[in-house]
Symmetry: C2
Subunit: 401 residues, 2 copies
């Protein structure tokens, strides 16, 4: 392509298209605590390729045909059973849509409900990907205060009332109730019920993001919000990214039939890759449970390594979450500390992390927080990386309250 | 899910969301001439699974990481070389985005450019999928007259002038210039140049859909429109659906950097499945050319079988295209014939086809046309199916001019 392109697009773009986003390559540090990756050594991919080969011998001819828009039916059947057994969600396979990771379902649900300026509620610190999607659709994102039991119902209700008073009907209450990303707590059953009560009272659907629920290392399973509701107000999203691999891009959603009817025309690209789906289906129906158990021990050890390393290197100069599952710890330094400011020095030391403001609805709060992911590196690397991070913080004078 | 769901969504949906679309299962006929499927017996999938296994041994760890938003870099590198060699398109791999089939690129380009009411130009009969996408974004779709050399420039120019006169800046000229779907002609170089001239003169980008170009059985390659333009006005879309399999959901696009910058934030679901991409990359770099040649002989034979069957069964009572490639023949009955009306009787005879109006911008023109796809069935089935179709037409009294 020549540099002197003369054709101008500037007046042709649609009114709601987001601003330009330049090309970027992934930059990763040796001590990569920035992104919630699973353990790369235990990905079951070669096994999956073997199962895929058998599956293709059996039904590869069907790949000459376009996949069902909601995805490979046997995999939806498997998910309906898994969700019933483990999450108390009683639905038929036809109420499930497979999609590209969990991000495509979150994208479609947002697109279905949010006009520019519409209010959505999120936890005070929450998954940056969903914040990006809300921003892309012009949502007015409002954070709700949380404690270690989950969203504070009073804070949510006063936020709702404020929005309604200003003439705005809120569109979504978004929550990651299990091993909240990045805060790590799991919402109690009582709080989940409170959330449903407020959802019903004010007519605001709940978007429940349960992507990490399979990665529990301690404590007891807590019922999904979806299972506690029979009104249809809960839209539920899950994923194979964390239990098989992010690179397979396979997630799913279910919602009230009224919502599913509106989601179908939003699915771009047709039904998800049947090639990937066949592999995931054969693996899921034979070996997934076993894999989750084995992977759980590896990840528990990594979590414990990071908790130990934090204790050794930060002592009482900081505090952090002790999550019962998932892939990250939420680190808090004294007020005045600034993880954005420290990032260049940390990258210099080959340590990556997620500064608090990336998880904040306003994009600026939480400078003294960072999310540290422990899934990717070995326990030795975790120890070394946390030691380096503490040194960076100390040198920056950020460990004094 | 209970039937008595009390939560009401009706006032919550965003203003631009399309109407409800119910769940549907794919219904297929024995003589399935309705959809442009490739030959199911020659899909190279088991071979691909073998290559995938090796690839996963080499770089499966990388699937723990989220794929590059534009897709697996080595596969983009392969495509850059293929496009340079075969289509005269000189671009870098970073100017290519992989996506879910060709439908996701077409979706994103439309979303980037089209506001409700915006005018887009298409060939007088054209791929129903793109018509659906244009409709979903509220485009004002206008058909342009074509002959067997492609779009008629005068018809396009007068359409453009009419739109501009009514105060509307047209946003897209969409074309399938090679083995036009469904009409089968290939646009001449002169017409392609005319299209670029009009694109430049009126500032309307061209969306070139080249999904079938690899399936040439006769005649000479014609340069892509993209290769004839150095202004950046051409957005180019291609796919592996027809040369590997639709079920893998892998396509790609390239466009001016200005457009690519706006497309990136529209990509939902992150970078495409690295699992599928690894398989396609390893296969493409070793065996794809050979496969395309082999598949070409099979498909040529099927095309010839359908042409012969049409001659035997319809004789001079109908006329039809004689395409040099791709997967479909465009059948024309005398004026007054109605393929929509005949569809139930045809399905009763287990013969599926695409009635003309499905390919028409207005959704009603072309009742005496049907698209007949020859990729899926065996040559024996093609003969039997066409014979049955002729019988249905004859019984309906549609063969008399």
């Amino acid at each position: 392509m020549t540099d002197n392109q003369s054709f101008k697009y500037e007046n042709l773009f649609a009114s709601r298209v987001p601003g330009p986003q330049p090309f970027s390559d992934l930059v990763r540090e040796k001590y990569d605590f920035a992104v919630a990756y699973p353990d790369p050594a235990t990905l079951p991919l070669v096994e999956m390729a073997d199962l895929l080969k058998d599956a293709l011998r059996e039904e590869g001819r069907d790949l000459a045909v376009y996949p069902n828009l909601q995805g490979y039916p046997p995999l939806r059947e498997f998910l309906a059973q898994k969700l019933a057994k483990e999450r108390g969600i009683e639905i038929t396979p036809d109420e499930i849509m497979l999609a590209d990771g969990s991000s495509q379902p979150l994208h479609m649900l947002t697109e279905a409900l949010v006009d520019p300026g519409d209010v959505v509620f999120v936890e005070d610190f929450v998954y940056a990907g969903t914040l990006g999607t809300f921003n892309r659709f012009g949502a007015d994102i409002r954070g709700v205060m949380c404690d270690d039991q989950g969203i504070l119902p009073d804070s949510l209700e006063s936020g709702i009332q404020e929005a309604i008073k200003s003439g705005k009907q809120p569109k979504i209450i978004y929550t990651i109730p299990t091993f909240q990303n990045p805060q790590g707590w799991t919402m109690t059953v009582d709080r989940r019920k409170e959330l449903i009560r407020l959802s019903m009272k004010y007519g605001i659907p709940i978007m429940e993001d349960d992507c990490y629920v399979d990665l529990r290392y301690d404590g007891e399973n807590v019922p999904s919000i979806h299972s506690l509701d029979d009104s249809g107000s809960v839209m539920y999203v899950g994923s194979f990214s964390k239990i098989i691999a992010p690179g397979i891009r396979l997630g799913y959603m279910t919602a009230s039939p009224e919502v599913m009817d509106r989601i179908r025309p939003l699915k771009s690209g047709g039904g998800v890759s049947q090639f990937t789906s066949l592999a995931v289906h054969r693996y899921s129906t034979t070996k997934l449970d076993e894999h989750i158990t084995a992977m759980g021990s590896v990840l528990r050890a990594k979590r414990d390594a990071m908790l130990a390393a934090l204790g050794e290197n930060f002592g009482s100069a900081a505090s952090w979450s002790r999550p019962e599952g998932a892939l990250y710890i939420w680190l808090r330094l004294p007020e005045g500390a600034d993880f954005e400011l420290m990032l260049p020095a940390s990258l210099e030391a080959q340590v990556g992390y997620g500064p608090g403001p990336r998880f904040s609805p306003d994009g600026v709060s939480g400078k003294n927080y960072a999310r540290l992911c422990f899934g990717y590196n070995t326990t030795e690397e975790i120890h070394e990386g946390i030691s380096r991070l503490a040194e960076v913080c100390d040198k920056a004078g950020m460990l004094k309250g």
